[in-house]
Assembly symmetry: D2
Homo-oligomer: 383 residues x 4
């Protein structure tokens, strides 16, 4: 397979307008977008490489890995070993920089990255929460760049597309990409939240193990995880803050409710589980509604919300994570219980694609004015 | 490994008092208990054989399989192939008969089985629900033996031990053994239900695939289940009826609530999931309480309920199914959310042991006056 | 995701030259190739759909499934449910027809399929073995179309590219696509066979479960396969015949050996195993050589054989099946044991891609004069 | 479940004869055997605890873990958390000490352990190889106690029972317990080796992940291992030395061959694979025989070798690892290929039981004169 080697974005022939989405959009948008990945050796980084290598408008400007010195990518990602790419300890110059790093690290590097115009798309949590006080509360660190945080946009295109485009036109563009659990949960519940229908909410989520990252830990060894399931992060999983921020905001926008009138969303009862599979998240959302609803009403609500979305599919039967594996799709199913009137809303994603790398590429497409599906046309892979 | 061959229970030297627990108890109880298994070729049947072969007071009187003609057990259970046991199409005569059959079948055979005094312990659902009307409603068949059903006891010793002992003294002894999901759920919630604390309840359960039985089905093939998770049985899983019966009854007994005062339990929001593992059930029970509770109160409630139970362990950290795999244990963890006041109660069992065969052996021990742990001393096996 | 609906190949504007590769090549080759899939509901059929939907030069002309009546594809392949495709009981008219059927069925349909010029690419075994006598011997059926078999080409492009191109120019084009085990094994061993180096050979292969197909069988249930490994098909696996045919033929061509001089290949000691994963085959080939070899000699041999092949990668470290999962790649590693002089050659493929659907698309590309990688550019997906 | 707490072996009432098998045998053998486990927090250590807790003649004298200070066992083995046992940094005094440690560590502690008469049963490799020169060659360390090594017995009872009993009568008793791969391989091949039938041999083995231990390593993470298979340890796996030692020795004893006349065994072509399951080893042994053999001859050879062995079962169909999971059984199947005359011998064990802890308990039983099956009566657990 022919290797796609990295090429510096300042090669002869590239424009002199500078880096980043504003320059790119001003330049007419026919060029390739140069992209760098900071934190390329983890799972999200590997998926970014896989997706971007097949992206028709992207060239890889460089892959950064801490303490790596021109190391062939095959050392960390054997499946990409024949691409000829290398991982290095230099932060690449590029129109867009993806950061996939432990929490707190991207925030510290952000100012340097965006100084030259590059857009920063953070796959980690450093620019997701709008309130700086949420960082010490949930992540146990003080945010080092609250000014940059103030300008960051929560990068879920299905909810914040217009804000993302606006950010692309600014001198500094920072996107805080959603977490994997919040992506599944928010897309599954946004129509209900917006309609003010959520009176009480339990989100019971199941994740594949890749969501826990690639650092060696005894509790993530195959022999520990296989043939077992457990809940974890009771009452304090960090993604809870993100769900409450976004669902609360949707609720505030809705015709029927506001955050104040919507105490069910004010605190989300979120319980994640680790299950013995590599990829995928399924979020089962148990909703007690603010008023009785019919199935027809739910169907209309979800159809309206998602009929034009390229990556969200509303389905009639409960979806399995395998139905979206390897793709950027989110499938959602919503049903009212005829006995009790409760509503079940179930959503599935591939945690490494729509929950991480794919969503990042989708956000890149939004920022740079490309079709949102560019580079993300792959169908799910099953079995 | 020396085979334990089946021996007829009417061999020379055995008592002439007749079969069944009443005769056994009258006889002083030093004999071996003769046991037959009807439906020996499925997963629950195999586990019964495994457990009973090591039971110090049981001799196997015969294994029944539809259309099997003296077939070596290795044909259906290769792991037991060296035991020398055979499966045949004759219903054995024995002090106790375990039935592990598709729903509706055991009910049709029950009268014949109990006629001679044998105790009937049904691993299937035919004697679990007290109200005959629940069978057409949930199982789509009319119960063929409502008179026998009226005398059946729900065989969860932790809740109904005294009733089981009373049934053992009657001429006809029928035990409807609990389903796998209800076992995990009821043990996890009984102390809360009894205390009238459940105002609203969502039970989000995850099961290994063996719970779906051994009949070939495309959706249970390895390639379909592996690397995937899905919900199923939305709003109509048959085990829901059982949970509502038992939790409602516990609630009615409690000091703080009754079934009428406890609408949360009146309809259980039960959502089961199939996850890619063979054994184990984890039930995550999301509870909105009828009044604020403290962790200390919960701890005291559960300690009191289970401190003397040999098979229920209350633990401080969320349990994994692997912590009980292969054993008859149920582990329960209950926590109050300091932010919201909601209560999470999480329980795990091995669905084929405490959720099926082990529970059946425990019930046998209760009926025949043996130590409840006889034959069930094995520790969980991990990793 | 926008659906790619099936369009009949005889839509206005398409050429009147007729169907099939000869007409297509004569027509200049700018059109889209119309493709039908017969046997679309199995695993290989699903993969064909997935790959062809993203193929830049293919339009799907129809999907055939026995007894299906305009059934949405989502009924059999939920992951493809949003494509709008349907499965029907009409054999489509198209430039190329892929058959993915139980053995013996495609052979019976072949005459009808190729009558109008369509190329037949059989994913099953009906056109793999050159000697008609091998069918009763290995597959237990008499080949119904020995005349067509005589003109069929074994569709492994890396070995038979020129013959495939020649077949495309004939009025009747039939390709017998290699089996999954033979693909992995033959690519792993061809350079050694061609060099006459194989004196004795044991092929110990491990396959994911999808290779066994999608028909419900008890021994393929998740609970049977998970946490277990077993050998099967001792001494009589049907793929053995294919390996012996191809490796023998390679040996006969080599400078150093002939089939007669190469008794090690005359009978391959082939032992397949079923392991608890869905996709992937790893073939470990234990070779006793006809003369001492050095590592440098092996490296040169394999480099020469595969340096220009787009889908075969020779690697220095033992490959894992996950390194090629989801892609059309084969990775091969060959090493000489410094202690014993034996040679180990290890190959991995994705059994459903390079071992079935991807290889079929690669063959299609060869027949129709397209770049061999068209539609197969996807990188492996990991983890 | 009632906890079995550790009790010091020198409690009032215990004999004053001293520790170890010689004293125990002299004392009449009615006492309980006091046992300590050094290295209790790994997988083999956990299995030892599980098995010994149910052993009718053993009391646990103490569990040692490096740097553990009276730590509840549940911290390392949650499934055993209710036993009340603790892990501590004091080496226990006991009749028998099991060591389950990284290579080189037990050898350094051995002198201290055996000084008081305790038998040392090393689950690790430090006392397996008779030739001290093999340690630097295969394990890269110089054996620190060659004098003790000289007196050690290779603890595979099926081959060395008499030597083990003899060692129990000596003042110093050291047993080097076999590795997991060698146990499966040697039991599978010993009858052939002894008969001088092995002319050439490839051992292709597949192991569950628990065999790689419990230290956190990236390559053992669930997401790396799941849905993948790979070979490793090409030409230099340490267990090769053990197989060559034992098979060579068997060959030398045989009527038909000697080590010199048996070059096939002189170097074993051993290739291990890591497959995505937790427990189990399957060894596929491809044998070219020194002369033609019949199936009847093979059957007689294996029946004679194993008919009286409690833990080795010769079976007619290829065994799966699940057939022995959780038990101390080894199942072996041997077949001659009617086409080629080659012999396939396939063996399965549970790597943590017969391949580690169970074998250790079996050896303990041999040393202390107990029935060999004591504490090992558990049947395999399936599915």
């Amino acid at each position: 397979m022919t290797a796609t080697r990295t090429t510096p974005s300042n090669a002869p022939g590239s424009t002199s307008l500078g880096l980043g989405p504003r320059a790119f959009r001003a330049g007419g948008g026919d060029d390739m977008i140069s992209v760098g990945i900071v934190g390329a050796t983890g799972y999200a980084g590997g998926e970014l490489v896989r997706l971007l290598l097949n992206h028709p408008r992207v060239k890889l400007a460089g892959l950064y890995g801490r303490n790596r010195d021109n190391e062939p990518i095959g050392a960390s990602h054997p499946h990409l070993g024949a691409t000829g790419l290398v991982v290095d300890k230099t932060i690449p110059k590029a129109d867009a920089i993806f950061t996939a790093l432990p929490h707190g690290v991207a925030a510290g590097m952000a100012a340097e990255i965006v100084a030259g115009g590059s857009a920063l798309l953070d796959v980690g949590p450093d620019f997701r929460l709008h309130d700086p006080a949420d960082y010490p509360a949930w992540y146990k660190f003080d945010h080092p760049a609250p000014d940059l945080l103030a300008g960051a946009v929560y990068g879920l295109p299905e909810l914040h597309r217009a804000e993302m485009v606006a950010a692309a036109e600014r001198a500094t563009t920072i996107i805080g990409l959603p977490g994997c659990y919040p992506t599944a949960t928010i897309l599954t519940l946004a129509p209900l939240a917006r309609a003010g229908l959520i009176a009480d909410l339990a989100v019971d989520a199941k994740s594949g193990v890749s969501g826990a990252g690639r650092e060696p830990r005894q509790d993530l060894l195959f022999s520990e995880v296989n043939e077992s399931v457990k809940a974890y992060g009771l009452f304090n999983h960090r993604h809870t803050a993100e769900m409450e921020q976004e669902l609360g905001q949707q609720g505030a926008r809705g015709a029927l409710g506001s955050k104040d009138a919507n105490p069910g969303v004010a605190t989300v009862d979120f319980l994640p589980h680790l299950i013995p599979m590599t990829r995928g998240i399924l979020a089962s959302c148990h909703v007690r509604t603010t008023r009785p609803v019919t199935q027809a009403e739910l169907d209309a609500l979800y159809d309206e919300a998602y009929r034009d979305e390229p990556f969200v599919q509303v389905v009639a039967d409960p979806p399995a994570t395998k139905h979206v594996s390897g793709s950027n799709l989110c499938r959602v199913c919503v049903k009212v219980d005829p006995r009790s009137g409760r509503v079940l809303a179930i959503g599935v994603i591939d945690n490494l694609v729509k929950g991480a790398a794919g969503q990042a590429v989708q956000a890149l497409n939004v920022l740079f004015g490309l079709p949102e599906t560019a580079g993300l046309e792959g169908y799910p892979i099953a079995p």
